[in-house]
Subunit: 303 residues, 2 copies
Amino acid sequence: MIEINEVGPRDGLQIEPAFVATDDKVALVDALSDCGFARIEVTSFTSARAIPALADAEAVMQRIRRRPGVVYTCLVPNLRGMERALDSGADELNLVMSASETHNQANLRMTREQSTAQLLAMLERAGQAGVPCNVSLSTAFGCPFEGDIAPSEVERLARLFAGAGAAGITLCDTTGMAYPTQVADLAASLAALLPASIPLTLHLHNTRGMALANALAAWQAGMRRFDGAVGGLGGCPYAPGASGNASTEELVHMFDCMGVDTGVSLAPLMEVVAALPRLVAREVPSQLLAAGPRLRTHPAPGR
Amino acid sequence: MIEINEVGPRDGLQIEPAFVATDDKVALVDALSDCGFARIEVTSFTSARAIPALADAEAVMQRIRRRPGVVYTCLVPNLRGMERALDSGADELNLVMSASETHNQANLRMTREQSTAQLLAMLERAGQAGVPCNVSLSTAFGCPFEGDIAPSEVERLARLFAGAGAAGITLCDTTGMAYPTQVADLAASLAALLPASIPLTLHLHNTRGMALANALAAWQAGMRRFDGAVGGLGGCPYAPGASGNASTEELVHMFDCMGVDTGVSLAPLMEVVAALPRLVAREVPSQLLAAGPRLRTHPAPGR
């Protein structure tokens, strides 16, 4: 049994150049709610200037249908965003900083020291509000500016936030630099480091084609929670033309084939994926959408 | 240490709608010869009517530069093709039939019984000529018409041909239906069945995004020989829009990252891949071409 978190409404839509109407976002989340996900990352409470694509965070959170059993989570970049997310009734919050100093400064315009202090304050505030916070560590497997990142840096931050009340830690392969043995090694070292009550999640990108290989390696190493984005939405600003997040449907399909229960039903999920090209006005990098599940058979020629 | 066989000039170019000029094919093979492959599948000695894209098989074989240490192999569909390939001085021949009855009839227009008899006759003829023959078993992990294929059928055929003088057996995931645990299981059962002198090769397609995950699982299960096609050339006629063969450069890149020696140099290979879109007059499904190797770093913004 593994858990799949759908992050497409946030991590996917945030970089789409064409604004997706609030109605369509709500319909997307509602359709995803019926697929069996453990968790759906609905939106990000950031400034409308920073991420105009998600300027309607309150409206989306207000209008989605909350299906019992699904955890509706939101990304929050700072205390102000956290208050907005708490007001919107988010079930869980996702905080983020980078393991890489250069990436943290480029992406968040703060030093890692500043980000660390901010995340600790946010964990304290969320603790008062009684809302669990997951901490996502970007560039955990490499930085597009610095190259390799020492596992000890990731371990240091994970331990720090776990000790400060984080409900879970997500290792993010932000620009698709992870490879299978690296994933297995970091999964094992972190599992040994963190209390069993703090689950680890793996957030993969398919930038260099290795998303499913990395998911396999992580699963073999004992990881049981995976982020994915429907249709492989999302992207990598440093690799134009590269595909985005690990595609949720390809994760589900692979684990289905292997007999691993994901909780997610592939048939309704594929309906959501099939509707994405219209929603985002472009093709999506889903191999599974083009090919169909492996046992979809075809009529033999000449019969 | 693993071996990578480049099959793009045959398995990739055979389905390209635009005829690639003989000069360009020769230049492609010559460029590949300098990348460090164990084996290059140059062409197919089939009828020009069946596969017009490879109608120049003799000319290509005659004009390529033979780099010492590289095995130049050719696909041969029948005894007539075998004589042409032998006349052309192929170092090795690749014979093919399907594990699935329906696919064999659709693809080769023969029953499996007829194909088996033909392959046995070809193995005998090649043995007289002293040229090693590899036997490729298509649809080893599933058939687009029949669905799952019993592993016992693959095992039966592999054992039959190994006993009849085949120099190696290739398990082909012809339409991208393989998944990691299945690959590991079949790799293990065949390794136990065949003499150690008969190497197993895995031929993957990325139709459902699992090519690298399957390669990883196979490597973990002890397989050491992989086919790939530069740029992910090739395709699946039953899944329009689906990508083709496992991309050679993505296989090499993943194993490089893992510290597994492939013998192949990624830098000259990426130059070949970069030239492919012009060669085949379309984009190629190479994530690595779009993104670059994982440690290609970028300047930080604002610096």
